[in-house]
Symmetry: none
DNA sequence: GCGATTAATGTGCAAATGCACAGCAGCTTC
DNA sequence: GAAGCTGCTGTGCATTTGCACATTAATCGC
């Protein structure tokens, strides 16, 4: 810490420069010091944080929390939105927007993006600016449902996103859920499916949501993939969350259950192997699931809000 | 107010320049824009306050003076800044910073803050750290002016502050000044206005400035609410200062004049009833007005500088 | 007191910045 | 369609800034 008199001098020079719009030479003349000295004082003022340049982002974030998440879970990046929103729908939309802006910054021409559809990723995709163009190849990473729930209609969304981004779509022409593990294996062996999944594994970026298996709200139930009783029993036996329709435990390890075997789509191991997996999730109730997902090592970037981030860190202690 | 996409662009460029230490040419190359364009974006970002340079003044206080103020006027707390600043603009900014730090310490999540806009409170609000978040409900406590003087644009400032704090804004949708007392009464009776004023009365904290009715500098004249002749005559008849656009006398009692009746906003009595009213004011010329305001009993916390504090104490003897 | 070492200060120049001016596209008006 | 207007965009240049290096002052050990 610098002493008070110097602090005062630094602040004074900084005020003359930044608030008084004087040039360094003017200040030097006014204070009877050399120009270089003023330059050095200004530099010192910046270094000592006597002057701070604050940038007001349309979406405000919490760098401190982000840094802790990055360190704690070995992430590449974390995004924690500062928000006063209490309404959960509004909050979700804000997070989706944050994630969309981030994705846009990531997607360069020729990028290959794998998408695991869920209600959160649906919102992220909606939040991507219609005029954003990047010629991206969009790949459907999980199979399709038989019925047309708008936020779970994977192939429609894949196409929509590809068109929005001005790129091409690669579909995973397969049901999301097979009747049993054997059938799932057969389906995965089909040329089109195998080929599509291979493409998914070659993505530069994957986008996933994280679920908490809550029987009341889980996409599993809404999509009719699992019953609420089934989820309850999984949770009791140690399952903590899901991502890309794969259920995992507290440690982020695949949870041994027949459901995981029946899903046709990218696996957690495959997600881990991708260069960059971006996960989006909010809600205090999801904190444990998110912490588990982060422990799996499959995620490189987490996009969430402050409150959830804090809760995840607590859980991760 | 700029739109979100532009705001984003400005913030991005500003971050690259100020945080990423890139030169304007580098940024131009990276974003495929011309250097001049980057220069102009940076300029716009500064003007639109998307980037703000915050100077941290050493905020040294005078506990002895503060204690005397507290005792003499029965305050909850007094803040008297020790400063060598001679330039009055600089001094005002330092006081604003002191007040802002204090407010930040006061504002907890869920707090309700009523603001009486004037040039001083404007500066206090500017000095609040953009990264300070508290989910505060901000309430406009005095009506709006017809023209757009930035430091008097109450509703814009209310919104800006609410956004900054990550909370919500409650507007007082009413003119500040009615043509006569009867019209003012009618306006006050309107459901929206009545409701807004009710909210203001339920605040936890109020922030006010104190004016001295000097015809040459008073906000009344600058805002076109009163003529300088009028102020002169009020002063001759015993008016000493104003706060929340209400004029009072040496004893801090409402000064009987038609102007007070025409103002739509929080009254001195209502301020007195609030749990905590924070007043910010500096300048030897304001000493008598400040002493009057303190005698009114409406103020719990005074934020000023050493010299003014000393002068107020002298006046208050 | 004197050389050695370190910190503070100033010189000179290349790089970065700010800005006046010119050019150009889109729009309105006649 | 010409003329005028408005709002963007880029060129060219003067000013301002950042910094390497030289210089001077201060501090210390002996």
């Amino acid at each position: 810490m610098i002493n008070a008199a110097r602090h005062e001098l630094l602040a004074k020079v900084a005020a003359m420069y930044y608030e008084g719009d004087m040039t360094q030479s003017d200040i030097a003349a006014a204070l009877d010091l050399s120009r270089v000295k003023i330059y050095r004082l200004l530099k010192e003022a910046r270094e000592a944080q006597v002057v701070r340049v604050l940038i007001d982002w349309p979406l405000k974030r919490s760098p401190a929390l982000e840094a802790r998440l990055v360190e704690r879970f070995g992430l590449e990046q974390a995004l924690a939105l500062q928000t006063g929103a209490t309404d959960s729908a509004l909050l979700r939309r804000q997070i989706a927007q944050l994630a969309a802006r981030f994705l846009e910054s990531l997607l360069a021409d020729g990028a290959r993006l794998s998408i695991c559809f869920g209600s959160t990723t649906y919102e992220v995709i909606s939040a991507i600016r219609p005029d954003f163009q990047a010629n991206v190849r969009v790949m459907q990473a999980t199979g399709s449902l038989p019925h047309a729930l708008k936020e779970f209609d994977s192939s429609a969304l894949t196409r929509q996103l590809a068109r929005k981004l001005g790129g091409e779509a690669r579909y995973l022409s397969s049901p999301l859920l097979a009747d049993n593990a054997e059938a799932a294996a057969v389906i995965r062996e089909q040329a089109v499916v195998r080929h599509a999944l291979e493409q998914v594994r070659r993505a530069d970026i994957a986008l996933v949501g994280i679920g908490d298996l809550d029987p009341a709200t889980s996409g599993f139930v809404r999509a009719g993939v699992a019953g609420s009783g089934q989820l309850r029993s999984y949770r009791e036996r140690g399952a903590i969350g899901d991502m890309a329709w794969q259920i995992f435990d507290r440690a982020g390890q695949p949870f041994p259950c027949e459901l995981n075997g029946r899903i046709i789509g990218v696996t957690l191991d495959e997600l881990s192997a991708l260069p960059r997996t971006v996960a989006v999730a909010v809600g205090l109730n999801k904190a444990a699931a998110i912490a588990g997902a982060l422990r799996s090592g499959a995620i490189n970037v987490l996009c969430t809000d402050e409150a959830t981030a804090a809760s995840v860190l607590e859980d991760g202690m």
